[in-house]
Symmetry: C2
Subunit: 505 residues, 2 copies
Amino acid sequence: MLNRVRSAVAHLVSSGGAPPPRPKSPDLPNAPSPQTAAPPEAPRSPPATAGSGSAAPAKTVEARASFSRPTFLQLSPGGLRRAVDHAGRAVQSPPDTGRRLPWSTGYAEVINAGKSRHNEDQACCEVVYVEGRRSVSGAPREPSQGQGLCFYYWGLFDGHAGGGAAEMAARLLHRHIREQLKDLVEILQDPSPPPLCLPSTPGAPGSSDSSHLVGPQSCWSSQKEVTHESLVVGAIENAFQFMDEQMARERRGHQVEGGCCALVVVYLLGKVYVANAGDSRAIIVRNGEIIPMSREFTPETERQRLQLLGFLKPELLGGEFTHLEFPRRIQPKELGQRMLYRDQNMTGWAYKKIELEDLRFPLVCGEGKKARVMATIGVTRGLGDHNLKVCSSTLPIKPFLSCFPEVRVYDLTQYEHCPDDVLVLGTDGLWDVTSDCEVAATVDRVLSAYEPNDPSRYKALAQALVLGARGTPRDRGWRLPNNKLGSGDDISVFVIPLGGPGSYS
Amino acid sequence: MLNRVRSAVAHLVSSGGAPPPRPKSPDLPNAPSPQTAAPPEAPRSPPATAGSGSAAPAKTVEARASFSRPTFLQLSPGGLRRAVDHAGRAVQSPPDTGRRLPWSTGYAEVINAGKSRHNEDQACCEVVYVEGRRSVSGAPREPSQGQGLCFYYWGLFDGHAGGGAAEMAARLLHRHIREQLKDLVEILQDPSPPPLCLPSTPGAPGSSDSSHLVGPQSCWSSQKEVTHESLVVGAIENAFQFMDEQMARERRGHQVEGGCCALVVVYLLGKVYVANAGDSRAIIVRNGEIIPMSREFTPETERQRLQLLGFLKPELLGGEFTHLEFPRRIQPKELGQRMLYRDQNMTGWAYKKIELEDLRFPLVCGEGKKARVMATIGVTRGLGDHNLKVCSSTLPIKPFLSCFPEVRVYDLTQYEHCPDDVLVLGTDGLWDVTSDCEVAATVDRVLSAYEPNDPSRYKALAQALVLGARGTPRDRGWRLPNNKLGSGDDISVFVIPLGGPGSYS
């Protein structure tokens, strides 16, 4: 993300300040050491275990964190050089000679125009097999039962202040999701409502009998109904948290620099789950209609959450910041005058008399792409950032950032999709210069130029979207056809066909 | 509101627990003592100062708090007896002989079927004149300048655990709004953007010159643009807070019992502001289309806000509650098993091992109309409730309740309204048994039976809505035509015509 972290005021320190890591559960996937990273390979078909989303021709941790590109790009050493050339900004897509991505997904990316040394976006596309950890009845599962689950997975990770967090998330987040789903394998395939309570020990008698679970109710007249869908949402939410905790634990050993936005799609049992933490965006274009599948989390959209936290926990402001918002910085000479402000409970503005502590820097300031938390970071959800501190201070910013995504669910079975219906995921490099409507117009223009059954049309569409956001070099910059500036940021796009040649039913 | 506060588990104590009252500003309106309350009268036309929204033929504070009905009903002693008769439940509306409510607004109400002794709903409809406190330039205003502002005001207040808070809010909230608007009289009438900073003392030189306000910006490239509209929103938000603080200060002297939901409408300078704190509801029905103008604030809709507060401030839970949500009460014998739960960051559900502190009562429990905070209250925003405690405990509930409304704005000038376009306000007694669509159908049915220029049609519509929600006595209860139970709650409805005979342009 371009300028998401103000390099002038932010710095990374390796010392503490973040909460102590909690003990690692033995069930959590390990971060593979660089030496054991899977070699580049095409995505596997089910049933297969999760492969690595991002591996690279690299021999050291640092090199891997800096240079890796998604394995499905199958970049040769020469291709990698072209991919990281800020001057040429060649658009990268998986080769036609390789195996296609699941569902004939289209993908394209381009590096930034020089704002950071490396492309800090990362991507992952996988088919993941989930083997149940144990049966609901408590009996150990027979491997031959074959009752596992498969999910399709796409992830975009937009890094900032270093590429380490994005690289790690691309490599591991889907494994955390798999881990969270392991307990649900039988439950999700059972049409009856999920049991509210499970036995602690496998083999405990009567544990699959839900009748005993409905005990005498002291306060509820009935128990709450919990859907299968909400279990998947909960699994994805917790997977984000476990991923973030793993980054906190391993930040020293594995050079997990910076943080990243995460936008992932999980397709499971007929439903598409879109989970977003950050300022990437997903939309469905269906029969020309735009269906937003995410919203952005920025200092502006999360102002009230941030202010409330600063109000309830003033120690997090370190005496350096005020939780109040002002429309501009207050000058010391204005002390005693009355200035417009917004408190955490307000959406409107009112005047207040300026007091001494109002001269502190506001927790949230600026507008649009320039909005910042603690004058430092322009995105309020994501993974990592455990070492991020306010400039010239030991004040940690992480307490204000949330690793939890918002998850939206789209039922693929409720509508008969045609080959032109797609789910488009893009990092902010795309959306900063392209509106939803412009994307929909490009979808229509590009797809209509290809036969409906031509699987390469989605890759062409992804490339067209990336090219359209990058522009062409002209007048000392990258410019769009309307002569406005193109995006100088890293740009990454997935185009997922919802009714295309993919066979997902 | 029916059963909003569980009388079995809640009680009111007069001792402290709430935050200490802050000193009263000399600018705040005083609560008139009962002796000085204005006599019943029809709403005044502008220019006029705010009249009392709710006064009554009562001689003591207690009687006033218990029996008062809106002055615009002009109830005779006999009428008042009929209005409070739980058996007959006669629908009340302003008499045809009186002066009409502004804009020919329709109003109707009915008392509950016996759930509480008195009708705990209150209503207010006023035209309020706002005289500027001082000019922006700092010069004292000449009374002859006549540059004041007028706003139209409608308010519904649904009390619980006593009628005192609703009665006080009906009498005073519009005065707090007027007070907040006093500083804005000149600013709102000046088409240029509001000044970000005002002088502290009237007459300070150069204070109306906005050019000096744009000082050197250390961090913002430009100042934030603040609209006139957002100033009105901020004024309404702060008026709710001041009203709540006044209730806290005067709760002992004035018998401000319980609390109330507040739904108010302010029409000012071409825009309709709908502010809601609680579970009343406002919708616009425009050319048959439904435009929601509020949302309800309940333990379910505000679950994550409540849980976050309990998580960040565990002392507010007093060791009696857990901030985690469970789908049903956990039995002690289930310790060690794994139960579905939701944390404050989650919208989905996941399993967790039950530990000792999970056996505490959940902060939020139940579903629908039975959802409760701390097993006590079913609404999470409103005014009052400063004395509300958890049963058999000194634990205050007020810290979890917010007095801040959500304000939605509707620009009346953006659409040419016809006489059938209305804004409908109702307490939950209406909405518990009537859907938005049913209300829209009643709007169509009733209004089409009257001439478009007949001002009595809006009163007839309000009566039809109240009757339709109350039903008729049959089979040992109040029943709707479909034989379902009607609402046994207090029901109050305003119908505000948006393009009717009212002359508000």
